[in-house]
Amino acid sequence: MNYTLIIMILVLALLSAGQRVIPWIFYSRFKNSENLEDVFNLFAIAAFSALMVYNVQSLTVTTLVALVIALLFAIRFKNVGVTIVIALLVFSISTFI
């Protein structure tokens, strides 16, 4: 049993539930929600961008081409499943060739 991992998952679970429920209970303090949405989106954009770069195992031409093509599909379809499938498809074809 990895207790550190279990505690980490518990903390993340409490954090996720708490951040959804507690602010809602104090609804009256959150008036301008559309403005907050824009601000909070920035955190998500920055985190996803940094995590994407950090998780490219090796930066090769093949990886880059696969991600650029996936980016074009992501812009066109805005669908998580399609983007991942396209990236994997391009990467698989170039790996097997």
Binding site: N2, T4, L5, M8, I9, L10, V11, L12, A13, L15, S16, A17, Q19, R20, V21, P23, W24, I25, Y27, F30, S33, E34, L36, E37, D38, V39, F40, N41, L42, F43, A44, I45, A46, A47, F48, S49, A50, L51, M52, V53, Y54, N55, V56, Q57, A66, L67, A70, L71, A74, K78, N79, V80, G81, V82, T83, I84, I86, A87, L88, T95
Partner: protein
Amino acid sequence: MFQPQKGTVLSAMGIISAGYIPPGIAFGSLAIALHVPPIYVISLSLFVYSGAVQSAFLGYWSYGIEPVSMILTAFMLNLRHTFYGAHIESTRENVRFRDIISIGPLLTDEIYAVSISYPSLGSRKILAISIYAYGNWALGTIIGITAATYAPEIVLSILALALPALFLALLVPKVKKGYGVLTAVTSGAIALLGKALGLPSYFIILPILVGVIAGGLFRLVFSGEEK
């Protein structure tokens, strides 16, 4: 307020299934490809229940979990959830405390989008759709775990690209304005620099914060033109 038609609920469920099962499969299979034990993979989906935070967990897992950075990143990723409940409540009457307590923990991006898109859906129907979504996410994860467990090594090595592709797919729909592009580019460029220099895992918080500050300042200065 008029009663929602059966078609409204069905179309909401269709949106939920399309949005939950494929990423659930991707998450489950990717976690197995990264050698996360299945019990933790399913625990993440059942207890954390946040695609963004779970994906971030995998991101940290693959190069070593640093608890403070992980929790701070999760906190920032979840920040957007803070206004969801308030926004849903502002579009409806008679939202009770027990609705907040029951729907709140299951309130995701998709549930928020469906609730705002269909204001005729009452609290009880939103709760039913939320539980349905939770089931879809768990089912997708289990399918992903099962598929990846029996996949050959070459397939797992190809699946490693799914993680950056997943972050790319999560990132693109959120970039709608100039300051979003600036945030993504700044954060990505600093992360690339950190990766090239081989900086430790906790460094990742820096590109995130600098990206947010750059985008926030741009938004503040050019807010007139952006809107």
